[in-house]
């Protein structure tokens, strides 16, 4: 009995080993960096997590190849390490001896990458499919560049300021020239008045402007 079990196990592992091995042309290597991504909230990688992985990969294959009913058993995993890295291959649900080729597997993973990542609370960088390049995030291109808007605001304010200053200096000058002939008339009148009054007093000497303050205080 024991012999039979041992033989079956060896057969099974032999079958698995044959096609799933490092650098297999039909599969990919996966690397998870759970501690880097989650720090203190990192979960432990165990059998259940591996089951989830196989299930999400089967989900991805189902999404990509419409109609084919991939099951968890179609995802074969091997070479698990302490790093948390392993290799996997995908068998066809119709014929387990047939392996799905790399291009299809890659396309399936790319399509559902986001969903697979979210299942594990990881990102493209921390759930790494070696040799599948992560989709690059494009910078959001604004319809109008924001710098142009700020420039417009600043330039508008400065131009308005310049116009106001120029207009105000022109107005000031006009007012000065209008007042000048008036002032000259007033001066003549007051001079005539004082002569007429003939006051002996020159006015009270203003004591507030004394000559002691020679040095400008800070």
């Amino acid at each position: 009995m024991l012999d039979k079990i041992l033989f079956l196990l060896c057969l099974a592992s032999a079958l698995a080993d044959e096609r799933c091995m490092p650098d297999t042309p039909h599969g990919f290597q996966v690397r998870l960096s759970i501690k880097t991504a989650l720090g203190d909230e990192a979960y432990v990688w165990n059998e259940n997590e591996m089951f989830l992985f196989r299930a999400s990969l089967a989900f991805a294959m189902r999404n990509h190849m419409n109609g084919q009913q991939f099951e968890v058993s179609n995802i074969i995993v091997c070479n698990e390490t302490m790093r948390v890295s392993f290799w996997f291959i995908v068998t066809s649900p119709l014929d387990t001896s047939q392996l799905i080729d790399q291009e299809n597997v890659e396309a399936a993973i790319r399509q559902s990458r986001n969903r697979i990542n979210s299942a594990f609370l990881l990102t493209d960088k921390t759930l790494e499919f070696v040799d599948i390049l992560p989709t690059l995030a494009t910078l959001y291109t604004h319809p109008t560049p924001p710098w142009l808007i700020v420039f417009g605001v600043v330039m508008g304010a400065v131009s308005a300021g310049i116009i106001i200053m120029l207009v105000s200096s022109v107005v000031q000058k006009k007012r000065k020239t209008n007042r000048k002939p008036q002032d000259e008339d007033d001066d003549e009148e007051t001079r005539v008045k004082t002569v007429e009054n003939g006051d002996a007093h020159d006015g009270i000497h203003n004591m507030s402007f004394s000559e002691d303050e020679r040095f400008t205080k800070m």
Binding site: R31, S33, I34, K35, T36, T81, M82, R83, V84, S85, L136, A137, T138, L139, H142, P146, W147, L148, I149, V150, F151, V154, M155, V158, S159, G161, I162, M165, L166, S169, K173, R214, F215, T216, M218
Partner: protein, 627 residues
């Protein structure tokens, strides 16, 4: 016994006597503009002195010349060179109540060349300095978005990857050299006008125009903001910087003294040059500012206070900058180390967390012994914090590359970016006020425009002309032209002018007369320190710096650093030789202001001889007629 001086007849006819000055003060006659209050004057001077150099030149010098030890030559030369020269300019401006041109022409007609030289220097500096302000405005405008445009590389044309130039260098380098400058690989290729920088250039000159439109009437109000805001922002950055990881290693690195640097003459030369340029002496702007003061203003006190503020600001700014640089260096070091650890974990399939920062070295050693070939295959990078810290950059590289990169790593980056560039903008603008003042007053003294021309129009014409000539810096090769102007336009000429200023005041105006003037203005004669420094120490220091500078500049090969994506060492800047026709331009930049001094003296001399001859001719003619 009076100090030897050259005979200077007719000096009394050209300047106001003490009684006349007092009368002028009493009657408040004269159409000279005045400061509204003392604070405006002090803020304008502080703003002029404290500029971009305090932020991006001094920290670099400090760090590269032995950290804390650099303070020693800096402070010594500040006291022996900076303060006396500053006091001299303030006092002579306040006494003679004229701008640079007026002051030197009044002392002796042959010295008009000094005023002309100051004006040329102010003009040269204004041209390129405002382009730096335009670049600052460009970065400021681009800071109002999250994420900042220099935090990521853009995608290439077919969206398969990042732009190659950006990938090979870094996003901040790419944004600076390509998106901002769109720099050409060599100075001969001009690359055409870059329209986005042209817009910022026009904006910068418009802002400058509105601030200087009525001379000190408007700049006096503007300096309340432009001179105080940088200190506020520096304090905010200091508080923010100190809370970041690695900031203290930056400060420690900056201030760790290396006393062996004091033995090198280049340290002292750099310190002297930094003190000198940092005080914006010989531009003529400080003389103008001081001439708007009342006659009895205490210029001695002002000179000491402003020097102290300038020195302290430099140290303060260096501290702030290095907290941020320390943070950036630590960030880079951590990334380098994490990258290495990841590579090791992946290669040896070890569990996460088995290699940490602490046991990294031991693990690598152990693995090197057991699997040397694998280790070699991984190609681990050397991570050394000191190397990252001493990636000392100065000038535009510090502001637009290193600091912007550090900002992208801080949370709330757009806010810090906006604050940083507002601070740089204010620092640059307040320095521009002084330069424009130097040009404006000289142009008025030269009577280029008729007297009926309103001040607004004169300022407008000057700003428009400078804006047009400054278009050379908006070209693709503009960055190379700017560093050319920066290196040769101001440096040597300023030293020559300052030296001539000292000699003129001490020996041609007469140090005894100068002492009496100061006694009249502030109430006591300048003490022994001022006497010694004006007569002997400062001119000697200036002379040594000038000679050393000339010797080093003439002997070195004329190279410039170019950003060339085709070069082998990309992204390191490639050193290229200037083309031959650049020598003509360098001669114009450095030679014309310096040669203007003797040239103007000769012209005036010939004019005088010509007038004497014609006078004699008239007299002899009239004698003949009488007979």
């Amino acid at each position: 016994m009076s100090f030897p001086r050259l005979s200077n007849p007719g000096l009394d006819d050209r300047i106001l006597s003490h009684q006349q000055l007092d009368k002028l003060e009493e009657d408040e006659a004269g159409d000279r503009p005045k400061w509204d209050n003392k604070a405006q004057y002090m803020l304008s001077c502080v703003g002029f002195c404290v500029g971009l150099g305090n932020v991006w030149r001094f920290p670099y010098l400090c760090q590269s010349h032995g950290g804390g030890a650099f303070m020693i030559p800096f402070l010594i030369l500040l006291v022996l060179e900076g303060i006396p020269l500053l006091h001299l300019e303030f006092a002579i401006g306040q006494r003679l109540r004229a701008g640079s041109m007026g002051v030197w022409s009044a002392i002796h007609p042959y010295l008009a060349g000094i005023g002309i030289a100051s004006m040329c220097i102010s003009l040269t500096v204004s041209l390129y300095y405002n382009t730096i302000i335009a670049w600052i405005m460009w970065y400021f405008f681009n800071s109002f978005q999250d994420p900042l445009p220099w935090s990521q590389c853009p995608m290439d044309a077919n969206l398969t990857g990042f732009v190659s130039e950006c990938e090979r260098s870094s996003p901040v380098d790419y944004f600076w050299y390509r998106k901002t400058l769109n720099t050409t690989p060599a100075i001969e290729e001009d690359g055409g006008l870059q329209w986005w920088i042209l817009l910022c250039h026009i904006c910068a000159w418009s802002v400058l125009y509105i601030c200087t439109i009525r001379g000190i009437e408007t700049t006096g109000k503007a300096v309340y903001v432009t001179s105080t805001l940088p200190y506020v922002v520096l304090t905010i950055f200091l508080i923010r910087g100190l809370t970041l990881k690695g900031s203290l290693s930056g400060i420690k690195f900056l201030f760790t003294p290396d006393l062996t640097e004091l033995a090198k003459p280049t340290t002292w030369l750099d310190a002297g040059a930094q003190v000198f340029y940092s005080f914006s002496l010989a531009f003529g702007g400080l003389i103008s500012f001081s001439s708007y003061n009342s006659v009895h203003n205490n210029c001695e006190q002002d000179a000491v206070i402003i020097s102290i503020i300038n020195g302290l600001t430099a140290v303060y700014a260096a501290t702030v900058i290095y907290t941020i640089i320390g943070f950036r260096a630590t960030e880079r070091f951590d990334n380098c180390l994490s990258g290495n650890i990841l590579a090791l974990l992946n290669a040896f399939d070890m569990a996460e967390g088995s290699i940490t920062d602490n046991n990294y070295n031991q693990v690598v050693q152990h693995l090197n012994e057991t699997h040397p070939k694998v280790i070699q295959g991984i190609d681990l990078k050397t991570c050394d914090l000191t190397t990252f810290l001493s990636e000392g950059v100065e000038g535009t590289g510090l502001a637009f590359i290193v600091f912007t990169e550090a900002i992208t790593k801080m949370p709330l980056s757009p806010l810090w970016s906006v604050l940083f560039f507002i601070m740089l903008f204010c620092l640059g603008l307040s320095s521009m006020f002084g330069s424009i003042e130097g040009i404006l007053v000289s142009v008025q003294d030269l009577k280029v425009f008729p007297k009926t021309f309103p001040k607004e129009a004169i300022t407008g014409v000057i700003c428009a002309l400078c804006c047009l000539v400054g278009l050379i810096f908006v070209l693709g090769s503009g960055n190379y032209w700017l560093s050319l102007f920066d290196t040769y336009g101001a440096s040597i000429a300023l030293l020559v002018v300052a030296f001539c200023e000292m000699i003129s005041v001490v020996y041609i105006y007469g140090i005894d007369r100068f002492n009496n003037d100061i006694k009249f203005m502030i109430g006591h004669r300048p003490n022994f320190f001022w006497q010694a420094s004006w007569r002997v120490i400062s001119p000697l220091i200036m002379f040594f710096i000038l000679v050393f500078y000339l010797v080093t500049k003439v002997s070195e090969k004329l190279l410039y650093k170019a950003w060339d994506p085709e070069s082998e060492k990309f992204p390191t800047l490639e050193e290229k030789l200037y083309p031959d026709w650049i020598y003509v331009i360098i001669f114009i930049l450095a030679g014309i202001p310096s040669l203007a001094i003797p040239f103007a003296a000769i012209c005036k001399c010939l004019q005088k001889k010509g007038r004497k001859k014609s006078n004699l001719a008239i007299i002899s003619q009239s004698n003949l007629n009488e007979q």
